[in-house]
Amino acid sequence: MFPLYLTKDQAMSLTVTGVGKQNAAAAVSYHHAVIETHPGDIWINIGVAGHQSAELGSMYLANKIIDAETGACWYPQFACHFPCETQTIKTLSVASDSYTDMLFDMESAGFYQIASRLGTAELIHCIKIISDNAEQTMHSVSAKQVSELIENQIDILKQFLALLQPLSSELDAVYSPPTYFNTILTKWHFTKTEQHQLERLLRQWHIRNTGIDPTSLINSKHNAKAILSILEQELMSSPFSIGNTSSS
């Protein structure tokens, strides 16, 4: 469907959306289906945009995305301070050289609409590099120039990702099951409700008994109920201190 590239360590993936918001929206869905993205993943739409007067090659981050066709708006969320200016982007259905003080592009609205259903708003962004303006219009932009414009901004893109990465890791940690959860599930059968109870109790266990392995306590138990019950009993009788325990 869409060309999709993965880095060797599979930490980063790239889908080439092609032109237009429909393509961008479909590419996001495709990317999600193939990669099986998580809510803690970072989503970036990198592309070019036009503007009345912005300097060619300069880079902007979208602070508001307007779908020119429907009037719908989205507001990307900033959880840290980024190393480039922000601007409103208007996503057009048909390319135009009637430049204004907003950025013009053809993909952001399609990208953002779908990505914000799959990911976390603070980790979804549109970065645009100016390829054309009133002096040098879109008619003179070649594919090779677009590649060069983006390549010239790779360092700032890296800085940008480095700022988002800790936020993504923080969410991954929040969404990860507590230690021993998966091991326990491989040995005993837990219903969905029991799994939730186990997750909660294990988290409480780790907070109250930092570094202590609970499995010795449960190894002799025959079923989920007995495991939940012993964990609960142990927790109730273990000390609970707020002042001396570090919170996350």
Partner: protein, 332 residues
Amino acid sequence: MINLIYIEKEVHEHPRTLAILERYPQAQRVECERYSEIFNRKAQNFRLQKKQPALILARKHEGHVLPTPKQYGIGADYNYYFSHMLNCLYDCRYCFLQGMFQSAHYVLFVNYEDFIENIEQTIAKHNNEAVHFFSGYDCDSLAMDPLTNFVDEFLPVFEHSPNALIELRTKSTQIRTLLKREAIENCVVAFSFTPAEIAMALEHKVPAVNKRLQSILELQQAGWAVGLRFDPLIYTDNFKQQYNELFSMIFDQLDLSLLHSVSLGSFRLPKSYFKKLEKLYPDDVLLASPQAEESGNVGYPEKLRLDMLDYCKQIITHHVPDDKFFPCHEMI
């Protein structure tokens, strides 16, 4: 530090908007139709947003003044609250705001004139009856005063309304504006406290307990009535020792004759808010507390809760007369 300001089109030219924009010339500005386009949208994450909240300048169209829930009050029959602001500079792990809102951005409703008109109408409706107003319901009343100018704008309403009283609920040390004004009898600056160790673990970005106490002393010296809010009480296994130390520190230093009121309540959150807290901060120490669900709230098991409340009540009533003590409804 405010780096981004969203501005509703409708308040773009409002004098309060212009004054705030002047205060933050570096902040990026983004126009919107309604604040709800940004605030509380799905897919937003309160925990991440809390790292760098934006400011949203908006207009409140209705519901400027609302009656408080029944049990909420410090002695009057008629109790109202108003929220000129949503969200707080601080980040207390037990705070209900993180359960109530999807967003951590600060929403400031700049049309104070409509709030003030509604407050005045409410006061007039109650003629000579005592009526209380609570301002720190969805925010901390004073923490952002340099930005909101709340004290200077709202207090004059009460200067001329002796039957009304306003409570400024806070954990802040932003008392400069209050100290510059003449104290008025019908304003209570109510400070919330948990013991220092608990505060360090759960009240992120909040001024230390001793700094808050220092602010209280300064306010008392300037003639302001102050209140103490031991709500929520937080359990820890040396609970008695920690609260004992807190009470000693406070009651030994305060001028008790200038104390307006003391209230007490145990930690509890509506169940849906508690679940949200579990999702946002699953490994926070607060979540490993003893817990029980009761009437749609998650709090401490009844026996523990009543023991804690009773213990604190004994100490508080030793220092404070009964008519100044307002325990939560289940102790009455």
